[in-house]
Symmetry: C2
Subunit: 254 residues, 2 copies
Protein backbone atom coordinates (compact mmCIF):
# COMPACT_ATOMS: atom_id res chain seq x y z
CA UNK A 1 0.00 0.00 0.00
CA UNK A 2 1.44 3.38 -1.02
CA UNK A 3 -0.46 5.49 1.53
CA UNK A 4 -1.20 3.24 4.53
CA UNK A 5 -1.93 6.10 6.94
CA UNK A 6 -4.43 7.65 4.54
CA UNK A 7 -6.12 4.28 3.98
CA UNK A 8 -6.42 3.83 7.75
CA UNK A 9 -7.80 7.35 8.25
CA UNK A 10 -10.29 6.96 5.42
CA UNK A 11 -11.64 3.76 6.96
CA UNK A 12 -12.00 5.43 10.39
CA UNK A 13 -13.70 8.49 8.88
CA UNK A 14 -16.13 6.49 6.76
CA UNK A 15 -17.04 4.34 9.78
CA UNK A 16 -17.74 7.30 12.11
CA UNK A 17 -18.84 10.27 9.98
CA UNK A 18 -22.52 10.02 10.95
CA UNK A 19 -21.61 10.01 14.67
CA UNK A 20 -19.05 12.78 15.16
CA UNK A 21 -18.95 16.59 14.83
CA UNK A 22 -15.22 16.98 14.16
CA UNK A 23 -11.96 15.25 13.25
CA UNK A 24 -8.73 16.36 14.92
CA UNK A 25 -5.55 14.86 13.44
CA UNK A 26 -2.40 15.70 15.41
CA UNK A 27 0.34 17.14 13.21
CA UNK A 28 3.15 15.57 15.29
CA UNK A 29 2.47 12.00 14.18
CA UNK A 30 2.48 12.99 10.51
CA UNK A 31 5.57 15.20 10.78
CA UNK A 32 7.34 12.26 12.42
CA UNK A 33 7.09 10.48 9.06
CA UNK A 34 8.52 13.37 7.08
CA UNK A 35 7.19 14.57 3.74
CA UNK A 36 5.32 11.29 3.24
CA UNK A 37 3.38 11.88 6.46
CA UNK A 38 2.63 15.44 5.47
CA UNK A 39 1.23 14.27 2.16
CA UNK A 40 -1.03 11.73 3.88
CA UNK A 41 -2.22 14.40 6.32
CA UNK A 42 -3.19 16.60 3.39
CA UNK A 43 -4.96 13.71 1.67
CA UNK A 44 -6.90 13.08 4.88
CA UNK A 45 -8.04 16.70 5.17
CA UNK A 46 -9.03 16.78 1.50
CA UNK A 47 -10.98 13.56 1.80
CA UNK A 48 -12.98 14.73 4.81
CA UNK A 49 -13.72 18.12 3.30
CA UNK A 50 -14.85 16.71 0.00
CA UNK A 51 -16.90 13.78 1.24
CA UNK A 52 -18.17 15.20 4.56
CA UNK A 53 -18.20 18.99 4.12
CA UNK A 54 -20.38 19.54 7.21
CA UNK A 55 -17.83 17.99 9.57
CA UNK A 56 -15.35 20.39 11.16
CA UNK A 57 -11.63 19.69 10.75
CA UNK A 58 -9.12 20.69 13.44
CA UNK A 59 -5.36 20.46 13.06
CA UNK A 60 -3.99 19.82 16.52
CA UNK A 61 -0.66 21.55 15.96
CA UNK A 62 -0.18 23.67 19.10
CA UNK A 63 1.60 26.40 17.16
CA UNK A 64 2.56 30.00 18.01
CA UNK A 65 5.54 32.12 16.95
CA UNK A 66 6.06 35.86 16.40
CA UNK A 67 3.69 37.59 13.96
CA UNK A 68 5.65 37.37 10.70
CA UNK A 69 6.40 33.69 11.30
CA UNK A 70 2.82 32.82 12.14
CA UNK A 71 1.98 33.84 8.57
CA UNK A 72 3.91 30.71 7.54
CA UNK A 73 1.90 28.49 9.87
CA UNK A 74 -1.35 30.08 8.62
CA UNK A 75 -0.36 29.09 5.09
CA UNK A 76 0.47 25.52 6.13
CA UNK A 77 -2.60 24.91 8.28
CA UNK A 78 -5.41 26.94 6.72
CA UNK A 79 -4.33 27.17 3.08
CA UNK A 80 -2.19 24.10 2.29
CA UNK A 81 -4.08 21.60 4.48
CA UNK A 82 -7.36 23.51 4.44
CA UNK A 83 -8.06 22.87 8.12
CA UNK A 84 -11.05 24.72 9.61
CA UNK A 85 -9.37 25.24 12.98
CA UNK A 86 -6.03 25.01 14.77
CA UNK A 87 -4.80 24.69 18.37
CA UNK A 88 -2.46 27.48 19.61
CA UNK A 89 -0.14 28.27 22.53
CA UNK A 90 -1.00 31.53 24.32
CA UNK A 91 2.50 32.39 25.64
CA UNK A 92 3.49 35.02 23.03
CA UNK A 93 0.27 37.00 23.44
CA UNK A 94 -2.47 38.31 21.16
CA UNK A 95 -0.23 40.64 19.15
CA UNK A 96 1.87 37.69 17.91
CA UNK A 97 -1.18 35.54 17.15
CA UNK A 98 -3.02 38.10 15.02
CA UNK A 99 -2.27 36.26 11.73
CA UNK A 100 -4.40 33.41 13.11
CA UNK A 101 -7.01 35.54 14.91
CA UNK A 102 -7.73 37.78 11.93
CA UNK A 103 -8.77 34.80 9.80
CA UNK A 104 -12.52 35.24 10.33
CA UNK A 105 -13.24 32.12 8.29
CA UNK A 106 -11.16 29.89 10.59
CA UNK A 107 -11.15 28.83 14.25
CA UNK A 108 -8.42 29.51 16.84
CA UNK A 109 -8.39 27.10 19.79
CA UNK A 110 -6.13 28.46 22.53
CA UNK A 111 -4.54 26.23 25.20
CA UNK A 112 -6.00 27.16 28.58
CA UNK A 113 -5.94 24.22 31.03
CA UNK A 114 -4.33 21.22 29.36
CA UNK A 115 -5.11 17.58 30.16
CA UNK A 116 -1.61 16.36 31.09
CA UNK A 117 -0.71 15.49 34.73
CA UNK A 118 1.95 18.23 34.98
CA UNK A 119 -0.15 21.02 33.46
CA UNK A 120 -0.27 22.90 36.76
CA UNK A 121 3.44 23.77 36.80
CA UNK A 122 2.74 27.12 35.14
CA UNK A 123 -1.00 27.05 34.35
CA UNK A 124 -2.04 26.96 38.03
CA UNK A 125 0.30 29.74 39.19
CA UNK A 126 -1.43 32.41 41.21
CA UNK A 127 -1.10 35.78 39.57
CA UNK A 128 -1.98 39.20 40.93
CA UNK A 129 -5.48 40.06 39.84
CA UNK A 130 -5.04 42.78 37.26
CA UNK A 131 -8.50 44.18 36.92
CA UNK A 132 -12.03 43.84 38.20
CA UNK A 133 -13.28 41.50 35.52
CA UNK A 134 -13.55 38.62 37.93
CA UNK A 135 -15.74 40.51 40.38
CA UNK A 136 -18.81 38.50 41.17
CA UNK A 137 -17.22 35.22 40.17
CA UNK A 138 -16.03 32.66 42.63
CA UNK A 139 -12.58 31.71 41.46
CA UNK A 140 -11.97 29.40 44.34
CA UNK A 141 -8.86 31.30 45.39
CA UNK A 142 -8.37 31.52 49.12
CA UNK A 143 -7.24 35.07 48.62
CA UNK A 144 -9.43 37.19 46.38
CA UNK A 145 -6.59 39.33 45.12
CA UNK A 146 -5.16 36.50 43.01
CA UNK A 147 -6.29 34.31 40.16
CA UNK A 148 -4.74 31.36 38.33
CA UNK A 149 -2.79 31.88 35.11
CA UNK A 150 -5.18 29.63 33.14
CA UNK A 151 -8.13 31.68 34.40
CA UNK A 152 -6.49 34.90 33.25
CA UNK A 153 -5.77 33.39 29.83
CA UNK A 154 -9.42 32.32 29.57
CA UNK A 155 -10.49 35.89 30.35
CA UNK A 156 -8.05 37.49 27.91
CA UNK A 157 -9.09 35.17 25.07
CA UNK A 158 -12.80 35.71 25.69
CA UNK A 159 -12.65 39.49 26.29
CA UNK A 160 -9.70 40.66 24.18
CA UNK A 161 -8.84 38.10 21.51
CA UNK A 162 -12.27 37.11 20.25
CA UNK A 163 -13.40 40.16 18.28
CA UNK A 164 -13.98 37.97 15.21
CA UNK A 165 -15.92 35.46 17.27
CA UNK A 166 -13.58 32.68 16.13
CA UNK A 167 -11.92 31.63 19.40
CA UNK A 168 -12.26 28.52 21.54
CA UNK A 169 -10.30 27.16 24.51
CA UNK A 170 -8.62 23.83 25.24
CA UNK A 171 -9.79 22.60 28.65
CA UNK A 172 -8.82 19.04 29.62
CA UNK A 173 -11.41 16.50 30.76
CA UNK A 174 -8.97 15.50 33.49
CA UNK A 175 -9.66 18.79 35.34
CA UNK A 176 -13.46 19.12 35.74
CA UNK A 177 -13.25 21.64 38.61
CA UNK A 178 -11.05 23.91 36.53
CA UNK A 179 -13.41 23.46 33.58
CA UNK A 180 -16.29 24.68 35.74
CA UNK A 181 -14.30 27.79 36.64
CA UNK A 182 -13.39 28.51 33.02
CA UNK A 183 -17.04 28.10 32.00
CA UNK A 184 -18.06 30.61 34.68
CA UNK A 185 -15.54 33.12 33.31
CA UNK A 186 -16.12 32.95 29.55
CA UNK A 187 -19.85 32.50 29.02
CA UNK A 188 -20.77 30.40 25.99
CA UNK A 189 -17.33 30.21 24.31
CA UNK A 190 -16.88 26.60 23.10
CA UNK A 191 -14.23 24.25 24.53
CA UNK A 192 -12.14 21.58 22.86
CA UNK A 193 -11.87 18.85 25.49
CA UNK A 194 -9.05 16.30 25.26
CA UNK A 195 -8.27 13.75 27.96
CA UNK A 196 -11.15 11.27 27.65
CA UNK A 197 -10.17 7.61 27.36
CA UNK A 198 -6.53 6.64 27.83
CA UNK A 199 -5.78 9.84 29.77
CA UNK A 200 -8.47 9.09 32.35
CA UNK A 201 -11.02 11.88 31.96
CA UNK A 202 -14.62 11.15 32.97
CA UNK A 203 -17.47 11.92 30.57
CA UNK A 204 -20.15 12.55 33.21
CA UNK A 205 -17.99 15.03 35.14
CA UNK A 206 -16.87 16.71 31.93
CA UNK A 207 -20.36 17.23 30.56
CA UNK A 208 -21.69 18.49 33.89
CA UNK A 209 -18.79 20.90 34.33
CA UNK A 210 -18.52 22.16 30.79
CA UNK A 211 -21.91 22.62 29.10
CA UNK A 212 -22.78 26.20 28.18
CA UNK A 213 -26.10 27.94 28.89
CA UNK A 214 -27.69 26.20 25.88
CA UNK A 215 -26.44 22.75 26.95
CA UNK A 216 -23.91 22.79 24.11
CA UNK A 217 -20.38 24.13 23.63
CA UNK A 218 -18.13 21.08 23.99
CA UNK A 219 -16.08 19.20 21.41
CA UNK A 220 -15.14 16.17 23.49
CA UNK A 221 -12.27 14.30 21.92
CA UNK A 222 -11.10 10.73 22.24
CA UNK A 223 -8.19 9.81 19.99
CA UNK A 224 -6.41 6.61 20.97
CA UNK A 225 -9.54 5.19 22.65
CA UNK A 226 -11.35 5.22 19.31
CA UNK A 227 -8.82 4.81 16.52
CA UNK A 228 -6.96 2.05 18.36
CA UNK A 229 -10.07 0.33 19.79
CA UNK A 230 -8.99 -2.77 17.90
CA UNK A 231 -5.71 -3.67 16.25
CA UNK A 232 -7.37 -6.31 14.12
CA UNK A 233 -8.97 -6.11 10.69
CA UNK A 234 -12.15 -4.95 12.37
CA UNK A 235 -10.52 -1.68 13.58
CA UNK A 236 -12.98 0.57 11.74
CA UNK A 237 -16.03 -1.32 12.97
CA UNK A 238 -14.69 -1.23 16.56
CA UNK A 239 -13.92 2.49 16.21
CA UNK A 240 -17.54 3.04 15.17
CA UNK A 241 -18.78 1.11 18.21
CA UNK A 242 -16.55 3.12 20.56
CA UNK A 243 -17.56 6.43 18.98
CA UNK A 244 -21.23 5.55 19.25
CA UNK A 245 -20.83 4.46 22.87
CA UNK A 246 -19.10 7.74 23.67
CA UNK A 247 -21.72 9.84 21.92
CA UNK A 248 -24.52 8.05 23.77
CA UNK A 249 -22.76 8.59 27.07
CA UNK A 250 -22.25 12.29 26.36
CA UNK A 251 -25.92 12.72 25.51
CA UNK A 252 -26.99 10.82 28.63
CA UNK A 253 -25.61 13.64 30.82
CA UNK A 254 -26.81 16.64 28.79
CA UNK B 1 15.36 24.76 -10.49
CA UNK B 2 13.82 21.80 -8.70
CA UNK B 3 14.83 22.86 -5.15
CA UNK B 4 15.12 26.65 -5.15
CA UNK B 5 14.93 27.02 -1.37
CA UNK B 6 17.70 24.50 -0.85
CA UNK B 7 19.87 26.21 -3.47
CA UNK B 8 19.34 29.54 -1.69
CA UNK B 9 20.13 28.05 1.73
CA UNK B 10 23.23 26.31 0.44
CA UNK B 11 24.56 29.58 -0.96
CA UNK B 12 23.91 31.41 2.34
CA UNK B 13 25.53 28.62 4.36
CA UNK B 14 28.61 28.37 2.14
CA UNK B 15 29.06 32.15 2.30
CA UNK B 16 28.82 32.40 6.10
CA UNK B 17 30.04 29.09 7.57
CA UNK B 18 33.38 30.47 8.77
CA UNK B 19 31.64 33.36 10.58
CA UNK B 20 28.71 31.80 12.48
CA UNK B 21 28.25 29.32 15.34
CA UNK B 22 24.77 28.09 14.42
CA UNK B 23 22.04 27.97 11.79
CA UNK B 24 18.41 28.28 12.82
CA UNK B 25 15.86 27.58 10.07
CA UNK B 26 12.27 28.28 11.09
CA UNK B 27 9.95 25.34 10.40
CA UNK B 28 6.95 27.59 9.62
CA UNK B 29 8.29 28.86 6.31
CA UNK B 30 9.01 25.33 5.11
CA UNK B 31 5.71 23.88 6.30
CA UNK B 32 3.96 26.71 4.42
CA UNK B 33 5.20 25.07 1.22
CA UNK B 34 3.94 21.61 2.12
CA UNK B 35 5.86 18.39 1.55
CA UNK B 36 8.16 20.16 -0.93
CA UNK B 37 9.22 22.63 1.77
CA UNK B 38 9.75 19.84 4.27
CA UNK B 39 12.00 18.03 1.83
CA UNK B 40 14.10 21.16 1.27
CA UNK B 41 14.34 21.72 5.02
CA UNK B 42 15.70 18.19 5.41
CA UNK B 43 18.15 18.70 2.56
CA UNK B 44 19.36 21.90 4.26
CA UNK B 45 19.96 20.15 7.59
CA UNK B 46 21.75 17.28 5.88
CA UNK B 47 23.95 19.66 3.92
CA UNK B 48 25.03 21.63 6.97
CA UNK B 49 25.70 18.53 9.04
CA UNK B 50 27.72 16.84 6.35
CA UNK B 51 29.75 19.80 5.16
CA UNK B 52 30.06 21.77 8.43
CA UNK B 53 29.73 19.21 11.24
CA UNK B 54 31.06 21.66 13.87
CA UNK B 55 28.24 24.15 13.32
CA UNK B 56 25.18 23.72 15.54
CA UNK B 57 21.76 23.34 13.89
CA UNK B 58 18.61 24.61 15.59
CA UNK B 59 15.09 23.97 14.32
CA UNK B 60 13.04 26.97 15.37
CA UNK B 61 9.76 25.09 15.68
CA UNK B 62 8.32 26.33 18.99
CA UNK B 63 6.72 22.99 19.71
CA UNK B 64 5.15 21.43 22.82
CA UNK B 65 2.26 18.99 23.27
CA UNK B 66 1.44 16.31 25.84
CA UNK B 67 4.07 13.63 26.43
CA UNK B 68 2.96 10.91 24.02
CA UNK B 69 2.55 13.44 21.22
CA UNK B 70 5.93 15.04 21.83
CA UNK B 71 7.43 11.68 20.88
CA UNK B 72 6.19 12.45 17.35
CA UNK B 73 7.86 15.85 17.33
CA UNK B 74 11.08 14.33 18.68
CA UNK B 75 11.07 11.94 15.70
CA UNK B 76 10.47 14.76 13.21
CA UNK B 77 12.99 17.22 14.64
CA UNK B 78 15.82 15.11 16.06
CA UNK B 79 15.59 11.92 14.00
CA UNK B 80 14.08 12.82 10.61
CA UNK B 81 15.71 16.27 10.24
CA UNK B 82 18.64 15.50 12.51
CA UNK B 83 18.55 18.93 14.17
CA UNK B 84 20.87 19.41 17.17
CA UNK B 85 18.39 21.62 19.04
CA UNK B 86 14.79 22.78 19.06
CA UNK B 87 12.80 25.70 20.49
CA UNK B 88 9.94 24.79 22.87
CA UNK B 89 6.91 26.40 24.56
CA UNK B 90 6.93 26.03 28.36
CA UNK B 91 3.16 26.17 28.96
CA UNK B 92 2.49 22.41 29.41
CA UNK B 93 5.25 21.98 31.99
CA UNK B 94 8.26 19.73 32.42
CA UNK B 95 6.30 16.47 32.66
CA UNK B 96 4.92 16.93 29.13
CA UNK B 97 8.28 17.97 27.68
CA UNK B 98 10.25 14.97 29.00
CA UNK B 99 10.52 13.31 25.56
CA UNK B 100 12.61 16.34 24.52
CA UNK B 101 14.43 16.87 27.83
CA UNK B 102 15.56 13.25 28.16
CA UNK B 103 17.42 13.41 24.83
CA UNK B 104 20.84 14.03 26.35
CA UNK B 105 22.40 14.30 22.91
CA UNK B 106 20.12 17.20 21.88
CA UNK B 107 19.40 20.75 23.04
CA UNK B 108 16.08 22.11 24.37
CA UNK B 109 15.66 25.87 24.05
CA UNK B 110 12.67 27.02 26.11
CA UNK B 111 10.77 30.27 25.42
CA UNK B 112 11.30 32.61 28.36
CA UNK B 113 11.01 36.29 27.33
CA UNK B 114 10.20 36.51 23.62
CA UNK B 115 11.22 39.38 21.33
CA UNK B 116 7.77 40.41 20.03
CA UNK B 117 6.18 43.72 21.12
CA UNK B 118 3.21 42.01 22.83
CA UNK B 119 5.24 39.40 24.73
CA UNK B 120 4.37 40.98 28.08
CA UNK B 121 0.68 40.05 27.94
CA UNK B 122 1.35 36.85 29.89
CA UNK B 123 5.14 36.71 30.28
CA UNK B 124 5.29 39.84 32.46
CA UNK B 125 2.44 38.86 34.79
CA UNK B 126 3.30 39.14 38.45
CA UNK B 127 2.98 35.80 40.16
CA UNK B 128 3.10 35.00 43.85
CA UNK B 129 6.62 34.02 44.78
CA UNK B 130 6.44 30.31 45.44
CA UNK B 131 9.69 29.63 47.18
CA UNK B 132 12.82 31.28 48.43
CA UNK B 133 14.98 30.61 45.39
CA UNK B 134 15.06 34.28 44.53
CA UNK B 135 16.39 35.33 47.90
CA UNK B 136 19.41 37.53 47.48
CA UNK B 137 18.52 38.42 43.90
CA UNK B 138 17.16 41.78 42.93
CA UNK B 139 14.23 40.99 40.66
CA UNK B 140 13.28 44.60 40.24
CA UNK B 141 9.78 43.96 41.58
CA UNK B 142 8.46 46.82 43.68
CA UNK B 143 6.99 44.24 45.99
CA UNK B 144 9.32 41.42 47.00
CA UNK B 145 6.57 38.86 47.34
CA UNK B 146 6.02 38.64 43.58
CA UNK B 147 8.03 37.78 40.51
CA UNK B 148 7.29 37.84 36.78
CA UNK B 149 6.10 34.72 34.98
CA UNK B 150 9.13 34.74 32.65
CA UNK B 151 11.46 34.92 35.69
CA UNK B 152 9.74 31.90 37.24
CA UNK B 153 10.02 29.95 33.99
CA UNK B 154 13.74 30.81 33.83
CA UNK B 155 14.16 29.48 37.39
CA UNK B 156 12.18 26.29 36.76
CA UNK B 157 14.13 25.48 33.60
CA UNK B 158 17.50 26.12 35.23
CA UNK B 159 16.75 24.38 38.56
CA UNK B 160 14.25 21.64 37.65
CA UNK B 161 14.36 20.90 33.92
CA UNK B 162 18.09 20.88 33.24
CA UNK B 163 19.27 17.66 34.87
CA UNK B 164 20.80 16.53 31.55
CA UNK B 165 22.49 19.90 31.14
CA UNK B 166 20.85 20.31 27.73
CA UNK B 167 18.60 23.35 28.28
CA UNK B 168 18.81 26.92 27.05
CA UNK B 169 16.40 29.87 27.13
CA UNK B 170 15.00 32.18 24.47
CA UNK B 171 15.48 35.79 25.62
CA UNK B 172 14.74 38.53 23.06
CA UNK B 173 17.28 41.25 22.24
CA UNK B 174 14.41 43.73 22.37
CA UNK B 175 14.25 43.39 26.19
CA UNK B 176 17.79 43.97 27.56
CA UNK B 177 16.60 44.77 31.11
CA UNK B 178 14.69 41.51 31.28
CA UNK B 179 17.72 39.69 29.85
CA UNK B 180 19.83 41.07 32.69
CA UNK B 181 17.34 39.73 35.22
CA UNK B 182 17.24 36.30 33.60
CA UNK B 183 21.03 36.16 33.56
CA UNK B 184 21.09 36.98 37.29
CA UNK B 185 18.67 34.10 37.97
CA UNK B 186 20.14 31.25 35.90
CA UNK B 187 23.93 31.53 36.12
CA UNK B 188 25.75 30.44 32.98
CA UNK B 189 22.86 28.80 31.10
CA UNK B 190 23.14 29.87 27.44
CA UNK B 191 20.52 32.06 25.71
CA UNK B 192 19.22 32.03 22.17
CA UNK B 193 18.68 35.70 21.36
CA UNK B 194 16.31 36.66 18.52
CA UNK B 195 15.23 40.22 17.77
CA UNK B 196 18.38 41.76 16.28
CA UNK B 197 17.96 43.55 12.94
CA UNK B 198 14.43 44.05 11.57
CA UNK B 199 12.89 43.66 15.04
CA UNK B 200 14.97 46.52 16.48
CA UNK B 201 17.17 44.85 19.12
CA UNK B 202 20.50 46.53 19.91
CA UNK B 203 23.73 44.50 19.89
CA UNK B 204 25.62 46.58 22.47
CA UNK B 205 22.78 46.43 25.00
CA UNK B 206 22.23 42.74 24.33
CA UNK B 207 25.87 41.75 24.82
CA UNK B 208 26.23 43.86 27.96
CA UNK B 209 23.03 42.45 29.46
CA UNK B 210 23.45 38.84 28.48
CA UNK B 211 27.06 37.62 28.71
CA UNK B 212 27.67 34.91 31.28
CA UNK B 213 30.51 34.87 33.83
CA UNK B 214 32.94 33.65 31.15
CA UNK B 215 31.89 36.38 28.68
CA UNK B 216 30.13 33.76 26.57
CA UNK B 217 26.69 32.17 26.57
CA UNK B 218 24.78 33.97 23.78
CA UNK B 219 23.64 32.73 20.38
CA UNK B 220 22.61 36.06 18.87
CA UNK B 221 20.44 35.54 15.84
CA UNK B 222 19.65 37.73 12.87
CA UNK B 223 17.47 36.11 10.23
CA UNK B 224 15.91 38.54 7.78
CA UNK B 225 18.71 41.10 8.28
CA UNK B 226 21.23 38.62 6.90
CA UNK B 227 19.48 36.31 4.45
CA UNK B 228 17.59 39.18 2.82
CA UNK B 229 20.46 41.70 2.95
CA UNK B 230 20.23 41.85 -0.83
CA UNK B 231 17.57 40.66 -3.22
CA UNK B 232 19.99 40.69 -6.13
CA UNK B 233 22.29 38.01 -7.48
CA UNK B 234 24.83 39.08 -4.87
CA UNK B 235 22.57 37.94 -1.99
CA UNK B 236 25.13 35.45 -0.61
CA UNK B 237 28.00 37.92 -0.75
CA UNK B 238 25.88 40.59 1.00
CA UNK B 239 24.76 38.03 3.61
CA UNK B 240 28.43 37.33 4.32
CA UNK B 241 29.15 41.05 4.73
CA UNK B 242 26.23 41.49 7.11
CA UNK B 243 27.16 38.40 9.14
CA UNK B 244 30.73 39.60 9.42
CA UNK B 245 29.64 43.09 10.45
CA UNK B 246 27.41 41.60 13.11
CA UNK B 247 30.10 39.29 14.46
CA UNK B 248 32.58 42.16 14.69
CA UNK B 249 30.03 44.29 16.51
CA UNK B 250 29.26 41.49 18.97
CA UNK B 251 32.96 41.00 19.71
CA UNK B 252 33.49 44.75 20.15
CA UNK B 253 31.31 44.69 23.29
CA UNK B 254 32.59 41.47 24.85
Amino acid sequence: EQYPQFVFNKAIVDATADIVCAYKPNSAFYEARGEKGMQELKMTFEYIQKKYPDIVTILDAKRADIGSTNEGYVKYIFDYLGSDMVTLHPYLGKEALLPFLKRKDKGCIVLCKTSNPGSGEFQDLKIKRLDSRLRGNDTGSADNKTMRLYEYIALQVSKEWNSNNNCMLVVGATYPEEMKKVRSLVGDMPFLVPGIGIQGGDIEKTVKAGLDSKKRGLIINSSRGIIFASKGKNFAEKAREEAKKMKDEINKYR
